[in-house]
């Protein structure tokens, strides 16, 4: 697809934000309103020029997410009982089991979705929040990409919860083998939901605002 140059409504050397022009834009549909309008006339979404409580909400959800992630790793995700033995496996335990079966690719997918993505997300959201608090001017494009990535990839952590759901529903073979979900599945799901909410609470416009407000 070709890219069309929209140009800017502002002066040619710089770009103007809706806020700088005394306007407020709807983030749902893009409609622009005069400052002071409370609801979008097109889609009825509430209008906020900048969400100044954004960072508070981000930190609150993020901390909740990190707290929920701890029991998700220490408690068992799956309770397996077979004719011979009963066993409990944690997230990491499940990855190790998969490697024992020789399924390295799948082990990598699970490890990536349940450990790398959540931890990476905690770090990325912290970095975004701290950099906005410090009014950092560095690497705005990089940080915006990080935000996009966090929003896009965060939901994929739910893979492990769905794996547990399918395994527990499928493996119910009376005495031969049964699998039941462990409590870690709940805390892991909570952790994913909380960090998704943290990412959604972040107002990406704050990344770009620093080059508008002179520091002198």
């Amino acid at each position: 697809m070709q890219v069309f140059d929209l140009g800017s409504s502002g002066p040619s050397q710089g770009l103007t934000t809706a806020r700088a022009a005394g306007l407020v834009a709807c983030r749902t549909c893009g409609q622009v309103h005069h400052k002071g309008a409370e609801r979008c006339k097109r889609c009825q979404s509430p209008l906020i020029s900048r969400d100044h409580q954004s960072l508070q909400k981000v930190w609150a959800w993020l901390i909740a997410g990190i707290i929920a992630y701890i029991p998700a790793n220490t408690y068992p995700m799956l309770l397996t009982s077979t004719l011979l033995e009963r066993s409990e496996s944690t997230i990491i335990g499940g990855v190790v089991d998969l490697m024992h079966y020789g399924a390295y690719g799948i082990a990598f997918v699970v490890f990536f979705a349940s450990v790398v993505i959540p931890v990476g997300k905690f770090l990325a959201i912290m970095y975004l929040a701290v950099s906005v608090q410090r009014a950092s001017q560095a690497n705005q494009h990089g940080r915006h990409k990080a935000y996009d990535l966090v929003e896009f990839i965060g939901r994929w952590s739910m893979i492990d919860v769905f794996v547990v759901a399918i395994l527990s529903a499928l493996v119910q073979l009376d005495t031969i083998a049964t699998i039941n979900p462990g409590i870690a599945a709940v805390s892991f799901a909570l952790s994913v939901i909380f960090t998704m909410l943290a990412a959604q609470a972040f107002d990406p416009r704050l990344i770009w605002d620093v080059d508008r407000t002179p520091h002198d």
Binding site: S9, T17, Q31, R42, Q44, Y101, H144, A165, A177
Partner: protein
């Protein structure tokens, strides 16, 4: 409409970084990105609405099939157990995990269906150039807001992982619902790529006038 109002309607602000741009009619098959952060602001495909509706209807029907047909069944040592998508949701029904059963039901069945119904409701009349239903804007806004929470595609990857875990210990039979669900995922992704928020809001606006 006053001049000032007309002027506001000709502007489009980037939802990600708030930069203002002057909206223009894009030539067919092009897209326009934010000058500052690169977010896609508009893309044009004239027949997009009809295609979105067609894909949404297809996905809706497949989703119904995915929920009702047998999904997977497992056979080991003469004992067999069949599972539907609903059974997977109900895996969490006991004790403390119950809220997770509700959440899972929403993520993999309820929210995808809600998104599809909202899209069909909001955009259906546009295909035949009729007036949109009341609440069409709300329905489209809802469909867009629910996007991150609708996790059918993640579920299908989860199922694949589970299958590989089980395949070593027992024989797994894949039922028609599995393929229906996989179809829902592919079609939903195709459909979401066609959605250009800006053009659909404009279309909803023009249809009203």
């Amino acid at each position: 409409m006053t001049d000032a109002q007309q002027y506001l309607d000709d502007l489009v602000a980037c939802p990600q970084c708030d930069t203002l741009h002057a909206a223009q009619d894009l030539p067919e098959g092009m897209r326009a990105c934010c000058q500052r952060c690169g977010h896609v602001l508009m893309s044009t495909q004239r027949t997009a609405v009809a295609r979105i509706i067609a894909l949404a209807l297809t996905a809706f029907v497949l989703m119904i099939a995915a929920v009702t047909f047998p999904f997977l069944s497992l056979n080991a040592g003469g004992v067999q157990n069949a599972t539907s998508v609903i059974d997977a949701v109900l895996a969490f029904k006991d004790g403390l995990a119950f809220p997770l059963a509700v959440a899972t039901a929403f993520f993999i069945v309820v929210l995808p269906l809600m998104r599809l119904s909202a899209l069909i409701y909001a955009l259906g009349p546009l295909v035949t150039e009729r007036k949109p239903h009341p609440g069409a804007r709300f329905a489209f806004g809802l469909a867009e807001r629910l996007r991150p929470w609708s996790m059918a595609e993640i579920f299908i990857v989860g199922v694949t992982v589970a299958l590989i875990k089980v395949a070593g210990m027992a024989a797994v039979t894949i039922g028609p619902a599995f393929w229906a669900f996989a179809g829902v995922v592919v079609i939903t992704i195709l459909k979401d790529q066609l959605i250009c928020r800006y053009s659909i809001w404009e279309a909803l606006d023009q249809a009203k006038a």
